[in-house]
Amino acid sequence: MPGKLKVKIVAGRHLPVMDRASDLTDAFVEVKFGNTTFKTDVFPKSLNPQWNSEWFKFEVDDEDLQDEPLQVTVLDHDTYSANDAIGKVYIDIDPLLCSEAASVISGWFPIYDTIHGIRGEINVLVKVELFNDLNRFRQSSCGVKFFCTTSIPRCYRAAMVHGFVEELVVNEDPEYQWIDRIRSPRASNEARQRLISLMSGELQRKIGLKVLEMGGNAVVGYLQCFDLEGESGLVVRAIGTACTLDKLSSGSAPNTNTHMHPNTAPASNACNSPSKDGKEPVFGEDLTSSSGPPTPFRALPTTSSSPPPFSPSKPCSRQSSSSDTDLSLTPKTGMGSGGSVGKEAGPLKTLLRQQTQTALEQREFPFFTLTSFPPGFLLHVGGVVSARSVKLLDRIHNPDEPETRDAWWEEIRQEIKSHAKALGCHGVVGYSESTSICEEVCILSASGTAAILNPRYMREGCLDIGITDHRFEEPSPPSCGFCHIPYDELNMPFPAQLTYCYHCRRQKVPDVLFTTINLPQEAAVTGKGCLIQARLCRLKKKAQGEVNATAISNLLPFMEYELHTQLMNKLKLRSMNALFGLHIQISVGENMLLGLASATGVYLTALPAPGGIQIAGKTPGDLSNEHHILTIQKRINDTIAKNKELYQINPPELTEEVVGSPIPEPRQRSRLFRSHSESSDELSELDLSHGKKDAFVLEIDDTDAVEDIHSLLTDAPTPTGFYSCNTEIMPGIYSWTSGVQMFTSVRVFRLSNANLTNQGLNKIFTDLCENLLKSFYFKLRSMIPCCLCQLNFAVAVPEEELIQVAVTAVAMTFDKDQAQEKPADKSTTKGGSETEEQLQFPMELCADASSANTQPSSKISAASVDYGSFADRCSTWLELLRLKAHTIRRGSVKTISSLEHCSPLPEGRSRSLRSNRSFRGSPVTVVKMTPLSFLPGTRIIKYLGIINMFFIRETTSLREEGGVSGFLHTFIAEVFAMVRAHVAALGGNAVVSYSMKECMLMENPNKNQAQCLINVSGDAVICVRETDQEPNPSMANIGQTCASGTDGAT
């Protein structure tokens, strides 16, 4: 009995009217944990009950403490019939189990009902007393800290990074149990919410156990996802990076002394899924070429480390001709995926041998879910590695043995690992996994960035490894080192055009670099970055079962290929040479596949300037055609020139051509490089180079190509004053001010029944995304100059003719004048008193204020003036009232004030505003939210725990709630409100690394019904305004300058 949970129900407010007769409510509360339930007294006839209950005490296992949520149900007492439920609050008490996180949960929580939404609020107080438990075989993992943040949390130092942890749990989905036919929608929704809450608790506990086993004390980059597999069950899975974190004493700079110690012994046990090396069929040879592997449920490995090919037609036809299908394999047998498994084979062995066993290689999966690293941690980056696999879902028979799903992921991870090896890398960073489910077909995807991590970090703490490898130890300048190729230039995994690094001139660099990580802080960048998206729709025939799965897996390579072509073209069009934060999402629907690749393009100074794009006609001699081509060519050239100006890309002109390059054939790399695990011999055959050095040639031979080029040119430029990116921070902008606006936007587009072509669909999809962006720019125009960061697009095909795009991002203001240069050091002479003020005063709200500061727009300043006079008037009134303390009679008002106020709008009163403070302080704590790991202008002083919430909302009166838009609008606002309330109750004032993992909307307008599921997560933190803190190196470029942000509002 190692824990005592204590709960006190204080009061309620704004309760709904439950008794029509009296217009009041007789409310009481049930508090449930595990199987124990307590009740408060009924507080009769009030919408604002004051229960002030005793302390309800639950004596429970810490295992339960981790798994179970505290369930608070508010009910309306009814003497004659059953009590009506008003709503519920689920409180995750995990943050209380960690000594460094929150110590008490106390605050107003929205009372949530899955049918009616938020119905009033309840004030709850929760405490936990933990007893020391020395049992070595315990099942709980209390005390392990979890972070969604994909970098070392700001107020910690990583003493050790142990590596990859993963776990998944499965269960039956209550929605599909037989009992669902007889219970109410509310009961069903609640059962689902509760189950998922339980499962994620269990999952966290299990991951925590693994971390403890590895000797760590925290999980960073914790990514938890739900797969609602429908009939076949419900999977909750999570991955993360186990670390040992030391809390930094305030004042010392974070992130500077991070070391990474491999911990080999426990690492080998890290993943309990059995390794199946050798037992599985090895399809290595088949997978290497661009021809399809002979299995229907094959993995579709794709490595985008090399630029994609440019002439689409040839490789495509080749692929399709060879994608034979063999239906003998089913996923149930556990051999459904042909991941390339032969890890140690192949021509890269020589390379691998050179790097004798480093610690990372001894691990099963040398993966890191982190996307930002301490300086010097990343040595070299190879490129993006990704793998996809199409699976047929089958009912999970035994929830306690989720082996099938485990095996699926295992295969994918093995494949990723082998890809990384092929790129000469021993680790994968920026690793993430995702799924897309439609009926019984499921696409599993994983991607990351192959990288070599600093061997010096490896050596420390682990003496027996990593000493022999000196190949990469030559010191390279931090600003370009990570660009240098990790693979052997004589034995390249793919043909790349290498040059000497334009920065240090010593090492080779590729001409283009794709990664899934954030831009390293120390990287040298020319100009600014921008969001680059490739969008693609592919129709497919409706089919069932294996036929369907086969059709999908046949389509996937073409989609990947085209997405990469698009990305490459758009990158060239913007005159950039690297992509960061690359995220490729492929969603499956009944009759189509959607592909969306988002990334942030930048011009890395170390990489060569990209060549232009040249248009070539297939049929020379046709005059009109030639003229057409010329026009297009001109437009493209103009666009490139315009973009160069827009993004301020003026690379220092290199006078001398890089001569003496040892690269034998300076050829254009132009092939789809899908799986290259063991296939270097085959590479040359696939080379489709045009033999021309730096022109990137687009051939117009049919209407498709024309369409492609058109779509290339139709991307509207961002309006003046706006920038956008999908990484944490915008390359080239360093002077953030404190204006922050996080938002979620969802659009659903209904396609007409008309026979749509792929082209037509592409256009619709592209327009949908572009229009969304335009909408954002318009809505956020008051924040200019501002940048949309961490633009995260999630696409889905919820129904046959629907395309859904959900975006979560944050808009942040910056100081235009200082945008150009990195601030060396900023005077931060803000007094401590202001810090407190900052905490009380809404931080997020200063968006207006700060923009008013930087560019006084009449509208905004007018608003604040209004407010001033309002407060002024209030205070005047109040002073008068205080003086006299009069009462007011029916139908009469005080007259004394009328002397001053009889004129309709008293103006020009200049009273002291001192007394206004009391009016200002809103009783509701302002909670900022951001998908980034930091808030500009503030310093995080404490992490309070992870927020991981799952909500279901259902309605049977869709029209009355304003249609499906009204319904979702309310729901998203409610989700935000509940997140904020939980954070505030933990004592926090911000959520960082916020993300919306899931937003599943099902509607049936004919029945006037809709249902929506939302899963959100993030880290609750306390942050204070950055004050006299030494500007630390890692933060130097993100904060510091925003001190004056809120001044306009105060």
Binding site: I118, P719, F743, N771, Q804, S864, R889, I896, C902, F919
Partner: protein
């Protein structure tokens, strides 16, 4: 092919003041989009009509969701659903409870229990205010009246902050006052007066003729007129009933005015009439019914005759100043204090009500 769903939700609720005003004014989404397009917001931000429509819809939805909270403004401050900065909350409330002068002018002095759709339709047709906006303003009236009427105990503790705001915004007070005394404001002859005119006059009456106006220490103040004072006003009758006094008063005024205005002849000719008019109004104020007719009397007995003689506003000022001051020189006139208390209000009301 259509956008089936389109929402944008910010952690800090985004509200555009311009759109809010359009919403309050009862514009439909499409009309609001038109107005915004004409306003040039599109050129400013390179937006298209679609973008504008989507933004307007979002905002309208937000406002609709907020409306419930605005009905009990104290909730707005501690609700959790929307994160709205305090200054924005104040803006929302202030604007929501703002009244169109044209609308208030129509409602002034009417019984508030009414408010049928037909009434509001009429008002809307007359003032050009949309029915939706009329409904909102009317409901606001009732809401505020209800709150104030139900208040018990010390005002400081009980009056919700928003009511404070409304009471002092200069709208509610005249409204209370007018509703309380049921002043006649709807007659055709009074139509030319705006709400601002009435509000000003109400202020004058409240600050000079009520109980609290003289004695600040009175515990229980209200907007009832000072009964004692009204009684004393009867004494002023001497100014017109005593023939000598009347003549004397006239000659004093005429002496002072001679040569200073073009309308001198008309003033001299009309003096007795006008004086009778003003003094009679004073003498009758003990009657509740005559209090109701205060404004119509002022117009009929004084303003209209002067206007027909084409007095300028300056003439009016000059005349009333001397009319007031000359009474002090009258030896036999003993009611100087009452006279001043009466005339200060009459003067300023007439100044305000006399439109050139």
């Amino acid at each position: 092919m259509a956008v089936e769903l389109d929402v944008f939700v910010g952690n800090t609720t985004i509200m555009d003041e311009e759109v809010y005003q359009l919403w309050l004014d009862g514009y439909t989404v499409n009309d609001a989009v038109k107005v915004r397009m004409e306003g040039g917001v599109m050129e400013e931000c390179e937006a298209s009509a679609d973008v504008l429509l989507s933004d307007t819809m979002d905002q309208y939805r937000t406002f609709q969701m907020c409306e419930r909270l605005l009905h009990s403004p104290s909730k707005l401050a501690n609700q959790l659903l929307f994160q709205i900065p305090p200054n924005r909350q104040a803006m929302l409330i202030e604007r929501y409870y703002a009244f169109d002068d044209a609308f208030v002018r129509e409602v002034l002095g009417k019984k508030l229990s009414k408010g049928t759709k037909k009434d509001l339709d009429d008002i809307g047709a007359k003032t050009g205010v949309t029915l939706k906006s009329c409904r909102r303003q009317f409901d606001n009236f009732k809401r505020v009246f209800k709150v104030v009427e139900e208040l018990k105990g010390p005002l400081v503790e009980n009056i919700p902050p928003i009511m404070r705001l409304l009471l002092i915004s200069g709208i509610m007070l005249p409204l209370f006052f007018f509703a309380n005394h049921r002043f006649e404001t709807g007659k055709r002859k009074l139509q030319y007066l705006t709400f601002q005119d009435f509000a000003f006059c109400a202020g004058q009456l409240i600050s000079n003729w009520t109980v609290g106006a003289v004695d600040n220490m009175v515990e229980d103040m209200d907007v009832d007129l000072d009964k004692e004072f009204l009684q004393e006003l009867k004494e002023l009758k001497v100014l017109i009933t005593d023939k000598d006094l009347l003549d004397q008063h006239k000659s004093l005024v005429c002496t002072a005015l001679r040569g200073k205005t073009k309308a001198f002849n008309e003033m001299e000719a009309n003096f007795k009439n006008l004086s009778r008019g003003l003094v009679n109004i004073a003498a009758k104020l003990t009657n509740t019914k005559d209090v109701r007719d205060f404004f119509i009397d002022l117009v009929e007995k004084f303003i209209e005759p002067c206007r027909s003689d084409r007095w300028t506003a300056a003439d009016m000022r000059l005349y009333l100043t001397h009319y007031n001051n000359s009474a002090h020189i009258l030896d036999t006139f003993k009611h100087q204090a009452v006279w001043d208390r009466y005339m200060v209000v009459i003067k300023s009301c007439i100044f305000k009500m006399y439109h050139d």
